[in-house]
């Protein structure tokens, strides 16, 4: 073996354990998934692309996919709208407030998804905090249905995924040169104008990074979707689970998984590429 390649392979030595784990736990299952999806029947007979055709020919399945992607987009947008005011307050605050805000943002990350989701069930349930409060104040005549609704699910996911958006957005706003805002103000711009013409465009890479993280996390959030959305709302993660575990149709659920994975990563890459192309004068995140 030539000496150069010896040293190169020595350099790669420390990566081998991780690479092996990645291969065994990710590449192999993915390959298995691809293989399984190519069978025509749940009994693994006959290779064909029929599972994919079945998906795209079935308006119900396509609707489940678009609903799921839409949920991710909606939650990501909601966290984005909440993250900016938070970031602006953060930047304007002193050291103590900053620490407190950081702690409050990180707090949800320190508890399990299941716990956070059950908290939302307690809040939104028929006898939950919101309903009891509104009823006892006499503002509502009958308990409203909050749990097992689309809006309830968006609300819970927005709270749960907010840290993924808030951290990159705060980081981008922090890195802005304060003189840019002062320059805009001196030139006569109102606060709203400064936000839309200076702060937003210059922090777009952070916002896009956060949007993509939340989008992917919310679209694939099996536990929260299932517990807060309930059985009525069928989205891709529960659909896959139902086809695999309930119907025992492994080839179809494998195809669903791959289509879903490709759709989410496709959107992530497309938006990443678009932002690199159209966001100018700012370091891409």
């Amino acid at each position: 073996m030539p000496p150069a390649s010896t040293s190169a392979s020595r350099q790669l030595l420390p990566v081998i354990p991780l690479a092996a784990l990645f291969f065994a736990a990710f590449v192999l299952p993915l390959a298995a998934l691809v293989a399984i999806s190519l069978f025509r029947t749940p009994q693994f007979a006959e290779l064909s692309l029929v599972q994919y055709l079945r998906f795209f020919a079935d308006p119900f399945s396509v609707k489940v996919l678009t609903d799921t992607l839409w949920l991710g987009a909606e939650v990501a947008l909601a966290t984005l709208i909440l993250a900016y005011p938070l970031a602006l307050v953060y930047v304007a605050s002193g050291a103590f407030m900053r620490t407190s805000i950081t702690f409050l943002i990180m707090l949800p990350l320190l508890t399990s998804t299941v716990v956070r989701t059950f908290a939302w069930i307690v809040i939104l349930g028929r006898d939950g905090i919101v309903n009891s409060a509104m009823l006892s104040l006499g503002l509502w005549q009958a308990p409203a249905r909050l749990l097992y609704t689309w809006e309830g699910m968006v609300l819970a996911l927005t709270q749960i995924q907010l840290p993924l958006m808030a951290l990159p957005v705060i980081n981008s706003v922090l890195r802005l040169d304060g003189n840019l805002m002062r320059a805009a103000e001196g030139l006569g711009a109102s606060r709203t104008r400064i936000f839309f013409t200076v702060i937003l465009p210059l922090t777009l890479p952070g916002a896009i990074a956060g949007w993509l993280l939340v989008f992917a996390a919310a679209a694939t959030a099996f536990i929260t979707q299932t517990l807060v959305g309930g059985g009525r709302i069928i989205l891709m993660p529960s659909y896959i689970y139902q086809q695999a575990v309930g119907v025992q149709d492994w080839p179809f659920s494998a195809a669903l998984s791959l289509i879903f994975t490709l759709a989410v990563t496709g959107i992530v890459f497309a938006i990443g590429a678009l932002s690199r192309r159209y966001v100018r004068g700012v370091d891409a995140a």
Binding site: L180, A184, L187, V198, P201, V279, G281
Partner: protein, 370 residues
């Protein structure tokens, strides 16, 4: 376009404190319309606070700010019609040169055709017309500064504030830009305030210089007056280079220097006999002689440094005071050898400033320069 279109600016009794720290105290300053003023002082002297108060980013704890006689403390920065040029230029990195210059006009909802015409005019004046579609990141420091000034002037400001505008530029480019920007500001007739810690910048740009020290105004004067007639020891060592020589008053017009000779100043020093004083003598006001003369100070030559047009020689007096002598270079062809003894005499005693020696100041080697 040469009429003064700027505001007059009046500051009276301005004071500002950050918590317990007093940043500015009893600031009184009247700036005439079209005048170019420099706020000069070491870092922490309060000049940036003063700029922020004028700009409206900061409300003074006390005192009044007037533009053309009308009080403006309650008017927010975005309605003061002030053009600002920042140290790092603060150009919007995501907007083209054209869009940067147009920003203030668009914020004022100026009609589109008018915006285009005004921006083109400004870019023409700043010699940046060819770069209209570039992003700031694609420009050199000098070009960015031209754009920053064009952006500030595009809104027809009554007042332009420049915060350390040249400190990010190469030394070679600095003087060129100073001349160019001074002439642009004068063409516009706009009242301008430059904040700087660099005395050369203040001397080359300003009609009058306001020297700030520890939150107070030390002196307001023209560059020449500040250099020739400093009113305090601080100013004499802050503006230009100087030599501080200690002595004691012996007669109304005579000072016996600690380094030996008695100097006849040719005028009354207006202090009692026996008062310790410090004389400030500019390096170019000293002659270097090879032989002993009456009234000459003996020094040991430490080094001679050629600085282009002049050469600077440093000597040390018998009592340890370092003295710099600046001479036209031809004169130093017969250069004093390092380690040799030479005799210094003051060329023009009328240009020597006399200050009482600060009581607390006990060190005897007080040569300071910026």
């Amino acid at each position: 376009m040469s009429d003064a279109r700027g505001h007059s600016l009046d500051l009276s009794g301005i004071g500002h404190a950050f918590g317990a720290t007093v940043a500015l105290d009893e600031i009184n300053l009247a700036v005439a319309a079209g005048e170019l003023i420099a706020l000069l002082g070491p870092s922490g002297c309060g000049k940036t606070t003063m700029l922020q108060i004028i700009a409206g980013f900061l409300r003074p704890s006390k005192g009044e700010v007037r533009f053309d006689g009308a009080r403006v403390e309650h008017i927010p920065a975005n309605r003061r019609r002030i053009g600002m040029v920042f140290q790092n230029y603060a150009l919007f990195p995501h907007l083209t040169v054209f869009e940067n210059v147009a920003y203030g006009l668009r914020a004022r909802k100026t009609p589109k055709a008018e915006v285009t015409a005004k921006v083109e005019q400004m870019l023409g004046l700043a010699q940046m017309a060819a770069f209209a579609r570039r992003l700031p990141g694609e420009l050199s420091g000098g070009q960015q500064q031209r754009v920053a000034l064009a952006r500030a002037l595009a809104i027809d400001p009554g007042l332009v504030l420049l915060d350390e505008p040249f400190s990010a530029l190469d030394k070679n480019l600095r003087l060129d830009m100073q001349i160019e920007i001074k002439s642009l500001l004068k063409t516009f007739g706009v009242t301008s305030v430059i904040v700087t810690h660099d005395q050369e910048e203040a001397l080359s740009m300003a009609d009058r210089i306001v020297v700030l020290n520890k939150g107070r105004i030390e002196q307001i004067d023209s560059p020449d007056a500040l250099y020739d007639r400093p009113t305090s020891l601080f100013i004499s060592s802050f503006i230009g280079h100087t030599n501080l020589l200690r002595g004691v008053v012996t007669e109304t017009d005579r000072v016996k220097l600690d380094s030996g000779p008695e100097i006849d100043l040719g005028r009354s020093v207006q202090r009692w006999r026996g008062t310790p004083v410090t004389l400030s003598v500019r390096p170019e006001n000293i002659e270097l002689g090879a032989s002993e003369r009456p009234g000459a100070i003996p020094v040991t030559i430490r080094a001679t440094v050629p600085l282009g047009a002049v050469s600077v020689t440093e000597g040390v007096t018998a009592n340890g005071e370092a003295v710099k002598i600046s001479q036209a270079r031809a004169a130093t062809s017969a250069r004093a050898a390092t380690g040799s003894t030479a005799w210094l005499s003051i060329t023009d005693t009328s240009r020597v400033s006399v200050f009482s020696t600060p009581v607390a100041d006990s060190s005897n080697n007080q040569h300071r320069s910026i």
